[in-house]
Each structure stands twice: as C-alpha cells, then as structure tokens.
C-alpha cells in the first residue's frame, strides 16, 4: 500500500474510533508517528486527507462502473443513475467518518470542502456522458446554455449527497427514491422538451 492510502486509512480509523477529528494536523502527525507511519511529505493539512478520501470513493465508483458489463448498454440517464447508486454504495463504507466530520462543519458538509476535489472529476465525467447523449439525441442541443449542464448536474449531486447524509430510512431507501426522482427531473429538463418546440415555434413566427 502506498503512503497516501496508508495515511487515509489511519485517518479514517482515528476519526471513527474517537468520533472526533484530531485537534490539529500536528496532533495527527504525532499519532501517525506513534503508529510507525511516515508522512513523507504526502500531506500538509487534514482537509487534504479528507478530500482525498472522498475523491477515492468516487474514482473507485467510476472504476466499478467501467467494469460492469450492463453499464455500456445504458442510456445517458441510466449511466448517471448507475453512477449515483454506485457512489452512494462506496460512500456508505465511510458513512460514519462523514457523519463525524459533518458534526464539525458549520456550513453543510457537501457544499463545503469535502466534495471539492470530486467536482472537477465529476464534471469531466458528466461532460463526456452529455456529449454522448447529444449524439444520440437524448440531450437537447441548446447552444447557449448547454455549457451549464455539468453545473446543473453538480447541484443535483450535492442535493443527493446531502439528502443521503440526513436519511434515516431503512437501508437508505428514501435516498434511492430521491436519486430516481432527482435524475428523472433533471433529465426531463435536459431532454428535448416543450421549451425546445416552443422556442422553435417562436423563432419561426418572428423570422417571417
């Protein structure tokens, strides 16, 4: 195991066992030393470790998706759904850790720093998917606002993670329903719909 992964694991164990964060980065480095783990300059702040742990769950999800044979046959909408479900499963592994961290932050966890390193990776992934969706006609071609689509889906992601963190239903099944409904809603907006035919009609009327 490489050093960063080792440090991430130690950090998770520390937080989960004590149900609180280390007082400071220095305090945690001292703890690492006591466990014979060397920092070797991999990290300089706790936030960085936290971000990498969350990012790790997302990249692992993408990896799992790529290896699932049914994934390739999914439509864009289904791929996004599969991505959320897989990611929530991965996040489930570190739920206790996230819950402890969220007690520490004043602002809501997801809008805050932990998802920050996921954001560019997620948006790049979504951009690829949306291009694919445009080619098949599943996503509407709307020149000006098209570039905002990944941002819309990122808001959606933050909503889902937030919902899941506060979900107390058995097996988090309300979160599953939330994913279904949120993704369907967003994709109904992104798919060619009334707006497009309305705009087309309007353009026709004024073009003479």
């Amino acid at each position: 195991m490489d050093t960063p992964s080792q440090i991430q694991l130690a950090y998770r164990a520390y937080v989960e066992d004590r149900c609180k964060k280390p007082e400071s980065f220095e305090a945690f480095s001292a703890y690492l030393k006591s466990q014979d783990i060397e920092l070797k300059g991999s990290y300089h702040s706790l936030t960085r470790i936290e971000r990498d742990i969350v990012l790790g769950t997302f990249t692992e999800s993408l990896h799992r998706l790529e290896n699932a044979e049914e994934y390739l046959e999914y439509s864009t909408r289904e791929k996004v759904l599969a991505c959320y479900y897989t990611w929530l499963e991965e996040l489930g592994e570190i739920r206790t850790f996230l819950k402890v961290l969220s007690q520490h932050s004043m602002i809501s966890l997801t809008t805050e720093r932990f998802l920050k390193s996921v954001e560019p990776v997620f948006k790049a992934y979504i951009e690829d998917l949306l291009n694919e969706g445009s080619d098949t006609g599943e996503i509407a071609d709307r020149k000006i606002i098209e570039s905002r689509y990944p941002a819309v889906l990122w808001y959606n992601t933050r909503f889902i993670i937030q919902y899941w963190l506060h979900d107390d239903s058995q097996d988090y099944e309300r979160s599953d329903a939330a994913v279904e409904k949120a993704v369907n809603f967003v994709f109904d907006l992104l798919a060619p719909n009334l707006l497009d035919s309305g705009f087309d009609f309007f353009r026709f009327l004024i073009s003479k």
Binding site: R174, D176, V183
Partner: protein, 435 residues
Amino acid sequence: MKEQKKIPSSKVKRASKFVQTGFKVGGNYIRHYSKKVIQPDLDRSELDERNAGDIYDTLSELKGSALKVAQMLSMDQGILPKAYSDKFSQAQYQAPALSGPLVMKTLRQYLGESPSTFFDAFDIKAANAASIGQVHRGRKDGHELAIKIQYPGVAESVVSDLKLVRPIARRMLNLQDADLDMYFDEVKERLLEEADYELELQRSIELSEKCAELRDVSFPRYFPEWSGRRVISMEWKDGKHLDGFLAKNPSQQVRNRAGQALWDFYNFQIHQLQMTHADAHPGNFLFQENGQICVLDFGCVKVIPQDFYAVYRAMLQPETLTDPVYFEEQALKSGIIYPDDSAEEKQYFLDIMRDSLAMVCKPFYHEKFDFSDEDYFGEIYAYGEKMMRDPNLRKMDKARGSQHAIYLNRTYFGLFMILHKLGATVDTRKYLSEK
C-alpha cells in the same frame, strides 16, 4: 426509456383535488346561507345533498391509495357506486417504474451479488408492473423465475397518502376521530403489510400450502433463499390474465370451472382458514385455457378474528333476515346499531342493512348463482349511487360496522366483479352449509 415516462400524479396534485372539494363544499354553504336570507325556513337537506354530491364527485376522480381508502370506507357502508367499480382495477398505490440501475442496485443489495452473476439469465426490462414495484424474468438452477422488486420508500409514501385522505374521509363519513381511527388503522395496517415483502413471502408459502388441496387452483413455488426485504423470487407461471383469457372466447363450461375455482379459493380461506387473500383483483390471477387458475400475489391478507367471523357468517345466512330479533342481535354485535341509538336511528340503519344484505348476499341464498346477471349488478350499483347521495347517511355520527368487514367486503366485491366478467355460474352454498 419508456418506463420512466410514466410520471405519477404528484402529492400536490392530489392534495389540490381535496382543496377544490373544500372550496366547493364551502361554496355550497355560501349558497345555502345566501338563500336562507331570502327563505328563512330553508332546511339543510338540500345543502347536505349538494355536499354529498361534490365529495362523491371528487372521490371518483381520485386515484391511488386515496381512492382505495375512500372506496373501502364507502363499501363498508354498503355503498358501491358505479363510478368506483370502473376504477377498481386501478385502485391501488401506483409506484413509478424502477430504472434499470435501481433494479440492479436493489438486487445486488438483497441478494449480495449482481443479478448478472447471481442468476443464470436475467431480463433487465420489466415483464409486468406490480402496484408497488415490478416483476422481472430470470432463470437460476433450471428454474424459470418471476422476480418481484419493490420501489424504495413505499411504506412511507403510503403513510403520507393516508394522512392526505384523512380529513376528507372524516368529512365524508362525519365520524369522530376515534371512530375514524378504527377504520384508518385497519387500512394502514393492511397497506403497510403489502409493502412488507418478508411477511408476504411467509404468507404466500403458508396459504399456498393450506390451499394446496383445492381443485383447479395452483400457486407458484416460492424461493425464500433468493428473496429479501424488497425482493421476492417465485416460479414463473404461464397463463392469461382475465381479459386475455376472455378474448379467446372460452366455453361456458370453462368459464364456470374458472369461476368455481375462484369461489372455492376465497370461500375456503374465509370460512375454513379464517385468513384470506384480500385482493380479489383480476391482475392477481392467471387463467389457463382449460379454466384452471393460478394465484399470484399474497401481498394483502386479512386474518379474521373468531368473534367477528361468527357475526359475519350469520349475516350471510338467509334465515338471519327473516328473524327480526336475531337480526337485530347480530346488527348490535357487528356495531351497525348501538344500544343508545334512538328508535328512529335503529330503524334507519336496520333497514339499510336489511336491504343491502338481501341484495349483496343473494348469491349465498341459492345452490347455484349465475353471475352474468346484468340486472343483479345494475341493482347493486343503483342502490349504491342512491346511498352515496343520501344525506341521512352522512348525518350519522358513529362508526357503523366493524373495521374487520372492510377487507372482507372488498374481497367479496372483487370476487363478484371477476365472476360477473367471467359470466360464470357457480355452486355457491358449498362453504356455508358445511362446517
């Protein structure tokens, strides 16, 4: 992506329906009082009639569990308006379709493995919609399977739907909270049981074993080891649903055979087991070409308490109606009338009960009954419509009738509707003269 296009009517939309009724009823009051200014001696009967009419119109437009509740509560009053029966087939909680990824996730969660490796074959496209989920086809170890998967969060949706319908039911039935709770708890309990697949699996196995001896009735085999909290695996059964079966113009003999099988299935459970499949909905049966039937879904089961069963059984016997003293005794026991009712009230409810029993129980009074009889069903509908608009019925302030009757009446009503559609002639005395 067709399955995702079906967007269910939202809670907001359903709520607005109730609000509209509120406005209409409010409007009726305004109309009433403005008329009263001109005619001070105007009585309330016209107002009550209008309100009953508007509430009725709203309820017949509602779908989903709201309708189911309203329908069952009104059926319990011996009321079967025609508009309801048309919607009877849709009267259940309708969950939206599950997306492919959600199907995969749910199965992975409860089977511990991806369906593509767990099953030898699995079709990601749903074969059928169930009311609170959907059915997929699969194969494992040489068994052809129907795998039923439940939509997430159904139990909570059911509870919130019930909260929505409560105020309007209270208004419609004019009941005290405690009395209304008695009915509501019964409905809530059944609906929540329907969302409990572990209980359903257990009851499916129990009832299909107990009914194994019945002629012409079969059940799929269940696989508990391949099931979970929101997944049930059972043997895939071939056969046609009622409409498909009838489209092939089966002979009268075959129709009678199917009808008899259904009659025996229900009456055996009610009168021998005192525990019954309580969802006599055509979608829950498969019909074979020779008239044999297969029962698919034990989601809704009513266990009948002993003391209530005794009264219910008495009500089905023709002798009960001809003996006024015994009849009143039974009415008292079943909570249709109360010792402190005025003589007028007693008479009113006894009359309603006598009329509706004489009509609804007619099939039990004969050795054989021909369910194709249009006049008979027309009579029931007409009576139901009349009762629903009867302002006196809405003036009642007590619960009339046991909560246990709700699902039994619904079961018999559903059974009669299927038998009517089949046009079957059935030996109806069988389970009542025995025992």
